[in-house]
Amino acid sequence: MKKNISIKIYELQKKIRCVEEKIANNYKKNKMRCPTHLSIGQEAVATASGLALKTKDIAISYHRSHAHFLSKGGDPKKIFAELHGFEEGCSKGIGGSMHLIDLKNNFYGSTAIVSNSIPIGVGLAYSLKLAKKKNLVCIYIGDAAIEEGVFFESINFSILKKLPVVFICENNFFSVYTHLKDRQPPKRKIYKLAQAMGAISHKLKQDNPFKLFEKLENIFNKVRKNQKTHFIEIETCRYLEHCGTDDDSKLGYRSLKEFAKWKKKDPLIFSKNYLIKNKLMNQNKIEILDRNITNKINEDFIYLKNLKKPQFKSINKLVYK
């Protein structure tokens, strides 16, 4: 793998974590007054897939979408402003954390109702096909998405029409506080279910984001060429609570042993060590890079101070075009 992309893989993960930590550390000031689902612990999937996607590829996502927005090229300032309810937010402060959009980078939107954005992604892919474009649509979903009927309706259509769609299922084992074992039969694998529907299905790991990137890049290239529907399941772990900014592992709903195992193989730490071990960057240079990222995120956050309070009157006309 080229040095350039290896560093990017580390840098983007670090950036996403920095943005999410910035939100977490400031959430208690009660100025970000909207339900917020952080991606800390899940950055590797967004990073590897986001970097493997081309700008002209489309992505669409669900409620936990900050990482997907950022990895597609989105500006942290737009998230910060959106969460604070300013007109400068990516959705003018109307959508909040669960409704992000960045058309410049073909991030077509994230929505709040589980599985709601799946058919919309499939429809976007139908349009790409009609226009004879050689790009793909990446639909990010969680493990609960496949419990909704619309998932099956949509993947059926996508396979039927041979659409260039890649489903990326981030399986973090929880729907709010409810574990996968209470929601799906224990021996049935999510990716196998998609395979049975007719998708080309894969199960990948997030532990080594560099390997994950290579595998995803390979799959995406195939999809752009062959126009077939793929499904990728990647097990992952969210470090903080489902919605909000606290560590809620003390509540007892998840195994602390299991949780510790995930933290031990944190992809961000793995990536840092990987760069050093492979002599792609030394400790000193990484520290400089880290500092630059942190400083930039701090600046992006400080910029909010100059923003004006928007007026309700200004958005009434947005109900219709």
Binding site: L124, L318, K321
Partner: protein, 348 residues
């Protein structure tokens, strides 16, 4: 030469497909032998299977897929042979189509037209006969149109397709065979949200969709009995434009709302009454009359539907009481109450 309501829809669809090469039509039954009550005849042959296609029986996903397409430069016409099946798609309609433009700060709009057919008679029963314009009207971000005449269907469909917003186009099954002189069915630059179908001094009648045709079918009889009325047909349910109605009421001061395909609670009729009640310019000389179906689901048996549906005699009784008259309805009905005409043998 005459043109039917379904031929007018077919004409509008064909012309719009030619006009906009990115327009896509889909729905269950769109390419089958019956051609969606004749409304999609020739489309597949003319425009190909990429733009005119049959769908899996997946109402919710197909609505979302239509939204996705319309976000990406492919406006859509989606169609359902019964409105009741579309209830499976409420998430996509309410949470996506209606809100997309607003909740993403006006970044993208959803130009999708959803054709919904409402059934009546021949035992359509509780789940094949619902006309839920009131539900849809409650949702900010949607537009709802309900044509009555072929010329309305033709123009409303064209304007719905060109509208940059999601539009629900509700067509009553019993209107498909309604005929009009072909010269009347031509494109107009603007659509009126309501228009005057007939003129008179005695009372004002508000109707839309099938109820307009019901009222027209007793016009001659009423005129013969020296009763003349303003008939205001609502083309658009949302936005609801009552300016024509307000003007008419100044003259007649008597109001009958024939909301005959709707249940009474939170109906379009009750919305009209609520708006008029709050309007200081409107003064009625008699309490207004709202005629709707009962607050009961549609039964299937022909013995029950006889008293469930509103008949001509019911309308005339209400007009009698509004005008203090006692005209007898003595015309023998040619048709049974549960079919639009004697050729109609169902099954849907």
């Amino acid at each position: 030469m005459k043109i039917t309501f379904s031929q007018a829809i077919n004409k509008a669809l064909t012309e719009e497909m030619i006009r906009n090469k990115n327009l896509v039509c889909f729905g269950l039954g769109i390419n089958d032998n019956l051609k969606f009550f004749g409304t999609t005849k020739g489309l597949n042959e003319k425009f190909g299977s990429d733009r005119v296609f049959e769908t899996p029986t997946s109402e919710n996903a197909m609505t979302g897929i239509g939204i996705g397409m319309s976000l990406n430069n492919n406006p859509c016409v989606m169609m359902h042979q019964r409105l009741d099946f579309f209830l499976l798609a409420m998430d996509q309609l309410v949470n996506s189509a209606a809100k997309w433009h607003y909740m993403f700060g006006g970044k993208k709009n959803v130009p999708i037209t959803i054709r919904l057919v409402v059934g009546k008679g021949w035992g359509q029963g509780p789940t094949h006969s619902q006309s839920l314009q009131s539900w849809f009207a409650h949702i900010p971000g949607l537009k709802i149109v309900m044509p009555a005449l072929p010329s309305d269907a033709y123009n409303l469909l064209k304007h719905s397709i060109r509208d940059p917003n999601p539009v629900i186009f509700i067509e009553h099954r019993w209107l498909h065979g309604v005929e009009q002189d072909v010269s009347k069915v031509k494109e107009t630059k603007k659509i009126n949200n309501s228009h005057l179908v007939s003129k008179g001094e005695d009372l004002t009648v508000v109707t839309y969709s099938l109820s307009t045709i019901e009222m027209l079918s007793i016009k001659k009889f009423l005129n013969k009995n020296n009763i003349f009325f303003d008939l205001i047909n609502l083309n658009s349910i949302k936005p609801l434009d009552l300016s024509l109605l307000e003007r008419s009421l100044k003259k007649t001061t008597k109001l009958l709302i024939l909301d005959s395909i709707s249940h009474p609670i939170c109906s379009i009729g009750s919305e009209i009454l609520s708006q008029l009640y709050r309007n200081k310019n409107v003064k009625l000389s008699k309490p207004p009359v709202l005629l709707t179906l009962p607050d009961v689901p549609t039964p299937t048996s022909v013995f029950y539907t006889k008293d469930f549906y509103i008949k001509k005699i019911d309308i005339i009784k209400k007009i009698n009481s509004l005008l203090g008259k006692n005209i007898k309805y003595n015309i023998i009905e040619k048709n049974l109450h549960d079919v639009p005409d004697l050729q109609f043998k169902g099954p849907f």
